[in-house]
Point group: C2
Chain length 135, copies 2
C-alpha cells in the first residue's frame, strides 16, 4: 500500500532481556524530531482518525498489542502490531485509526516533525478531497 | 547531583487514554538521534554498568517500574521511575546501574548521539580514573 510499510529492527536478546535500538535516518527514513507514547487505553476505545500532510512517522508497540487501520481513497488494510522489533511506517496522506489496544499496551510513535496542528486532516471527507489528487 | 535531573513531561489524559509527547531540543536538551527500549528483563537482573563520555540521554519507564542507581566519584542516588510522564536525564560521566524491573516493564531511552562503542566506559575503575578529573 502507498506510503505504508513494516520496518524490522534489530533486537538484541540475552539473559539481560531485550534491547532494540532505532537510529534516526539510519533505521528509519527521517530524523526523530518528536516522539510520543500512548498508554492506558481502555477496551473498545479507538484513536487516530486523522491523516498528516507532511509528517512521516513510525509506530511501534512496546508492550501488548494494538491494531491499526490504514486507508487511502482506494485501499484499506488492518495491521496488528504485537512485537516490539517491528515498526509501522506511515507517510503523508494516509488515514489511520488505532484500536483493540490490549491491557497494558504501550504504543510509541517516532515522528519526523514537531507538532503542528495545521499538518493534521481530522475530517475524513476533507481527507478524501485532498488525497484524491495524490493517489 | 551533577548531570542528573528528573524531567516532567506534559501528559494528555482523556477518555481515549494517556498521551505524552517529547520534542527534541524543546522538552529535552538535545536532538534525538537514537532511541532504544528495553523489555523482558527477568527478576533479579541488573543492566547498565557503564558511563558515557559525551552522550546525553533521558530514560523513561513506559510501563511498570524500574530503579536506576546513578553515581559519580563522590555521590550516589537511587531513583525509581514508575510514571511515564517523568524522565531521568543523565549526562556525561555518570555511572548508571538499572535494576528491579517489574514484570512487563518497558524502559525507553532517548539519546543525543548515534551508537559509538568508544563513548562507553564499561569498567568502573577506569570510570573513576577519568571521572575524578571532572568532579
Amino acid at each position: 500500500m502507498y506510503n505504508v510499510a513494516l520496518v524490522k529492527f534489530k533486537k538484541f536478546t540475552d539473559k539481560y532481556g531485550h534491547l532494540t535500538p532505532v537510529e534516526g535516518k539510519i533505521d528509519i527514513p527521517f530524523e526523530i524530531k518528536r516522539i510520543y507514547y500512548i498508554s492506558n487505553v481502555q477496551e473498545g476505545v479507538a484513536r487516530g482518525f486523522h491523516s498528516h500532510r507532511k509528517l512521516h512517522q513510525v509506530l511501534i508497540c512496546l508492550n501488548g498489542a494494538v491494531k491499526i487501520k490504514v486507508k487511502n481513497p482506494h485501499e484499506e488494510e488492518v495491521i496488528q502490531l504485537s512485537e516490539s522489533s517491528v515498526g509501522l511506517y506511515i507517510g503523508p496522506y494516509v488515514w489511520r485509526e488505532i484500536f483493540d489496544f490490549t491491557e497494558g499496551s504501550v504504543l510509541l510513535a517516532l515522528a519526523s516533525e514537531y507538532y503542528d496542528e495545521d499538518d493534521y486532516i481530522r475530517n475524513y471527507d476533507f481527507y478524501l478531497e485532498e488525497a484524491q489528487k495524490r493517489y
